[in-house]
C-alpha cells in the first residue's frame, strides 16, 4: 500500500531564510507526487506536482520540489520564505491511471518569524 511520511510536524523559520520540507513516500511503481498548502480555515491548494520527466519541478508562490527516486523523497523548497507562507503543507502520492486514491502525509506546520 502506498504511504507518505512527513517527518517534521512543525518547522519554524525566519522570514527571508530558506526552507526545505521533507517528504518520503512508499510506492511500488512510479508515483505521482503532489504538494498542497492549507492556510488556516481554508481548503487545500495545489503548489506543484511531479508525474515524469524533469525531477525538479517548479510550482506557484516560488516553491520547487525535487523527486529523488533513490531516496523515495520529494522535498519541497523555497529559497526565501515570506510571512504569508505560514501554513500547513501536505505531501501526497497516487499512481497513474484508474481511480486510485490519493494518500496524504500528516502535514508539516510552518511558522514564519519576523
Amino acid at each position: 500500500a502506498q504511504s507518505v511520511t512527513q517527518p517534521d510536524i512543525h518547522i519554524t523559520v525566519s522570514e527571508g531564510a530558506s526552507l526545505e520540507l521533507r517528504c518520503n513516500y512508499s510506492y511500488g511503481a512510479t508515483p505521482y507526487l503532489f504538494w498542497y498548502v492549507q492556510s488556516p480555515g481554508q481548503g487545500l491548494q495545489l503548489l506543484l506536482k511531479y508525474f515524469s520527466g524533469d525531477t525538479l519541478v517548479q510550482g506557484i508562490k516560488g516553491f520547487e520540489a525535487e523527486f529523488k527516486r533513490s531516496q523515495s523523497s520529494f522535498n519541497l523548497r523555497k529559497p526565501s520564505v515570506h510571512w504569508s507562507d505560514a501554513a500547513e503543507y501536505f505531501c501526497a502520492v497516487t499512481n497513474s491511471g484508474g481511480y486510485q486514491k490519493v494518500t496524504f502525509g500528516t502535514g508539516t506546520k510552518l511558522q514564519v518569524i519576523p
Binding site: F34, Q45, E88, S96, K109
Partner: protein, 114 residues
C-alpha cells in the same frame, strides 16, 4: 465562479441528529471525493465517486452515506451523529488526465457535534 463549493461552511449539532453536507463542482470532472480532517490535521479519504458510481469506500461507518445525483454533485449524509464525527470535511474533484491529474478542494465544512 468557485470551482468546488460546499455548504454549509459551519455545522453545529447535537449527538444523535442527522445532517447533510452538500458539494458541487463546476469543473466538469468525473471524479469526486470526501475527506475527513481531524483535529491533528490528518487528512483521510472517506469516499470516491466516478461518474456517479462509488469507487472507494474506506471502511467508513455506514452512518455515513454519500449520494451523487449527478457528476457535478456529491453530498454526504450522516446519521446518528457522534462526538467523534467532529472534524472538517473536505470535498474534492479530480481531473484524471495523466500529467493534468489534479485534485481541487472545496473550502471545507467544520462539523461540531455537541
Amino acid at each position: 465562479d468557485t470551482a468546488v463549493s460546499q455548504t454549509p461552511k459551519y455545522l453545529v449539532t447535537q449527538m444523535g441528529n442527522d445532517k447533510s453536507i452538500k458539494c458541487e463542482q463546476n469543473l466538469g470532472h468525473d471524479t469526486m471525493y470526501w475527506y475527513k480532517q481531524d483535529s491533528k490535521k490528518f487528512l483521510k479519504i472517506m469516499f470516491s465517486y466516478n461518474n456517479k458510481e462509488l469507487i472507494i469506500n474506506e471502511t467508513v461507518p455506514n452512518r455515513f452515506s454519500p449520494k451523487s445525483p449527478d457528476k457535478a454533485h456529491l453530498n454526504l449524509h450522516i446519521n446518528s451523529l457522534e462526538l467523534g464525527d467532529s472534524a472538517v470535511y473536505f470535498c474534492a474533484s479530480r481531473k484524471l488526465a495523466g500529467a493534468e491529474d489534479t485534485q481541487y478542494f472545496g473550502p471545507g465544512t467544520r462539523l461540531t457535534v455537541l
